[in-house]
Each structure stands twice: as structure tokens, then as C-alpha cells.
Chain length 283, copies 2
């Protein structure tokens, strides 16, 4: 069994928020995650889990502190788990320029294949396999889970769900990087983590994946019309077109005047929680 070490525990909305560290065998480093447990969670009444994947530069803290999600999650009876966005520590290689869009804080939820990144940057396996095993062993939760995220985390939630449709009850994304092979952030990350052979990139590109595989689970995405990253980084319209062409029944909303930031996430997170609750809590 993995040893996890509690770093903090704080009562919030009658449930609690806690942070833990553990030695990740997938990432070969010490990782930190945050969990919110609603007041209804107990060994006798375990609750389902929403995994939240954050965007570039974030840690386990940003979503829990800024999204305003915990009140409704407490009411609905859903746990939320927020992992970090990359491996961490002095042994983990980083962007030589310490840029915000690659290396630490920018793991892109993939399994790197290229030196020197492949030793630690295995966030796909961490989120899909190692972390849920720990959560389900250590906390009063069921095996029912769903996944959501923002920006790079929306890329992560979409790609992970499309590749693992049986593992998640539903998927959603806010302002996702939805066609990373086509954007500067994605191209920088993929060329380093996966190499220059672009045929390998489609395994981590939501637009390519949904075209190849389709998707038959509930899927929701929201984007602001004033998101300054849409045209060059997110390409959510390309993803939406691909989803429709693949016959996927996607709920996709543009929101007039909203930008890319956390106030956009906060404004629509309750819609996402209610969406996930519908499937996580279904009989």
C-alpha cells in the first residue's frame, strides 16, 4: 500500500479539504494532491469522485481555493480530487528557461517517451491509474468517477475520458486546449515530451481522438467568447466540429464576454458539478 502523509486538513462547508503527499511510483517523485470530502462521506456511505485537472502553472491548490466549487459539491455529496499538474522536485527536469508552458506545472497529462522527460513526466498513467487506486483505498469513496478540467486540464480531461470511456461516468472541460497539435503550447510540449514524429501526437489530441474513436459518454464543454487563447491555443471550434462529424452528442456552450481566467471557471463550475452529479449519482 502507498503511504500517504497528510499535510493539512480544514473544515469547509461541513465537509473537509485536505492535502496529502506521497511517493509516486509512476512519476518517480514525491507528489501532492488535494481532496474535498462532502459531509455525507463516510465508510458506510461512500461518495463518488470528480477528478479535477488544472491548467498551466497550477498546483493542487488553485481549483480548491478559487473555483468556488466546494459549496455545491458539499450539497450534492461529491468528492473532488485535484492532483498537481506535473511531477515535482529537484530531480525532475524543467524547461531550461523555466517557461510557464512546459516542464514543471505543465505536464500535459501525457506519458512522455523522450529523454530526459520520460523518467518523470507520466501524468497520464498517474491520473488514470495510480491516483484513483490511492483515493479508493484511502478515502470513503466509491469507484464511480468522472473527470473535468480547465485549459491544459480540459485537454487532460477530454483525452483521458475519450481513451478510457468505461472508466468515467462523464467528462467536462472549461476552455480546453482541444486540438493541441495545432497550437503553440501543444506543439512545444508534444515535440519535447513525445518527439517530432507527429503521428504519436494524436494519442493526446482530443480532436484527433474523438475523430478516430468517437465517444458515447456524456460530455460537456464551455468556452468564453472573449477567451484570448481560443484562436491560437484552444481551437475549441475545431474540436466541436470534429465531435459533431463523429456523431458525438456533445453539450457545448459559448459564453458571451467571458475570458480564459478563473472568474470564468467560477461562473460556470456549478453547471459542471450538476452535470457530473447527474451521472455520478445515477442508480
Amino acid at each position: 500500500m502507498t503511504d500517504i502523509k497528510q499535510l493539512s486538513q480544514t473544515k469547509v462547508f461541513e465537509g473537509y479539504h485536505a492535502q496529502y503527499s506521497h511517493q509516486s511510483s509512476t512519476l518517480n517523485c514525491t507528489m501532492q494532491f488535494a481532496i474535498f470530502l462532502p459531509p455525507s462521506a463516510s465508510e458506510d456511505t461512500p461518495v463518488p469522485v470528480l477528478y479535477w485537472l488544472s491548467g498551466l502553472t497550477c498546483t493542487d491548490e488553485n481549483f480548491m481555493q478559487k473555483a468556488g466549487a466546494l459549496k455545491l459539491a458539499a450539497e450534492l455529496g461529491i468528492a473532488i480530487v485535484a492532483p498537481d499538474t506535473s511531477p515535482r522536485g529537484d530531480d525532475v527536469p524543467d524547461d531550461p528557461d523555466e517557461a510557464y508552458d512546459f516542464g514543471k506545472g505543465a505536464g500535459f497529462y501525457l506519458n512522455a517517451t523522450q529523454e530526459p522527460w520520460n523518467t518523470h513526466y507520466q501524468m497520464y498513467d498517474y491520473v488514470v491509474s495510480e491516483l484513483p487506486k490511492i483515493i479508493e483505498a484511502e478515502f470513503p469513496v466509491t469507484s464511480r468517477k468522472s473527470i473535468s478540467g480547465h485549459s491544459m486540464g480540459g485537454h487532460g480531461s477530454l483525452t483521458i475520458a475519450i481513451k478510457n470511456p468505461d472508466s468515467y461516468c462523464a467528462v467536462s472541460a472549461l476552455a480546453p486546449i482541444a486540438n493541441p497539435s495545432n497550437g503553440l503550447w501543444g506543439q512545444k510540449a508534444f515535440s519535447h515530451y513525445l518527439g517530432e514524429d507527429r503521428s504519436t501526437w494524436s494519442e493526446y489530441d482530443a480532436t484527433a481522438l474523438i475523430t478516430q474513436r468517437g465517444f458515447d459518454k456524456p460530455i460537456l464543454a464551455d468556452v468564453g467568447t472573449d477567451d484570448s487563447f481560443e484562436a491560437e491555443e484552444l481551437h475549441s471550434q475545431i474540436f466541436l466540429d470534429a465531435a459533431k462529424a463523429a456523431g458525438v452528442d456533445i453539450e457545448f456552450n459559448y459564453h458571451e464576454g467571458y475570458d480564459h481566467g478563473f472568474y470564468f471557471v467560477a461562473s460556470f463550475i456549478d453547471d459542471h458539478l450538476r452535470f457530473h452529479a447527474k451521472y455520478l449519482l445515477a442508480d
Copy 2:
């Protein structure tokens, strides 16, 4: 008229959050504040204002980002203004040790009388007079206002309201420093800002003020039972006893298991917004 300069504007919950800087004639430095305007605010339908005073180390950003207050404020139709917690800039003297509990980020919402602090540290006059004048001149708001705050900001909200009962429709506080003359934070700040003559301290001590003056406006306070600062810094029980002894009709709640942090604020901020709305929006 004061020139104010917009630093950001972001749509949130159909209203908007914005930050401004301006040259403060009270504080003799450039100051920054944040404002949330609900979607109902317009020149034809101005809205009342809740002034929020933050705690030690905070800026105009912490409450807006972390409290989760904007959703309900948007629904209720209340503007929120969050000033910074001290004067700022290279010309402003700071704690020689850059401690978190004195100097920048720790203005204690008072008018300093002692050198070298008295040139800039005049947060009381800034919050009571200069800032509302700017807000009422520049934004679609009415002159109806109330005031709330957390920790050092709860000290600020209580002392300002008790000294200006005709200016505010209501006052509330979360985990306020309620008897600062009796705590280490307050004693450090007051001895530097106001001098060693303790008779001057009572002008900025909520417990002394409510004993001397009473208070006949609506007043609400919440404190967590696991607040590690209660025993040596907050002294909320002493304040509650003084309020009762002065015949003040105070609503005061202890919350089992909550601590001093922002998750406590988030858990109860909606109660405070509804409390203020009852009086701000009354005919």
C-alpha cells in the same frame, strides 16, 4: 475629481470584477482597489455597496478570488469593494523585519499618529471617507453601504461601524481581532502606529468602543471553534461579553471545528451577504 486607472476588467457571474489604481491624497501613495458590480448595476439602477476589509498580508485580490462571494452578490444585486490592507510603494515605511503583522499589508484600518508611520498609514480615513467618495462618483452605486471583514479586517469593520453608526446600514465580521489592545498583533501595531499611551488605543479597539458607545445597527459575527488565534489574538468572547453588557443586540455564532482561514470565510460568506442584503436593500 480623482483620476482612477483601470487595471483589469473581467466578466464574472454576468457582472464584472475590475481593479483600479489611483493616487490617494489620504495615504500619499498610489493605491489599488477591486470592485465587483452585479449584472443589475447601471446608471439607471444603481446598487448598494458592501465594503470588504481583508486581513493581514492580503491585497485587494484575496477576497475576490477566494471567498466565493460573487455568485450570491450577483444574484442579490450588491456591489463589493475591496481595498488594499495598507499604503503601498517604495516611499512607504515598512516593518524593519518585513514581518507579516505590521507595516505593509497590516495597516490595521487606523490613522497613525507616530513618526514615521503617520505620513502614509491613514487607512481609517481612506476607508471611511476617500474610497467611498471615489466609488460613489465613478460607479453605478447608491450611497447605501455596509461593511464587513475578516481577522484584521473584522477589527476594521467593527471599529469603523461602531464609530460611524450613521454611515453603514449594517456591519459584520468573520473571526475579527475584536480586542486588539489585549493581543500581540494589536499591541505591536498600536504601540508603533499610535504610541505607548494606551489611552489612545481604545479609539481602535472594538471591545472598548462598544463598551463606551454601544451600537444600535445590525451586527453579525462568526468565529470557528478551532480558530488557533482566538485565545491570544481575537478575543471574540471578550468582545461578545462587552457587547451584551452594553445592551447591544448582536448576532454572534461559534462554528464547531472551523479554523481561521479562507475556507472558513468561504463557508459562511453567503450568510453575511444575505445579512447585509436585508439592510442594504430595505426600502
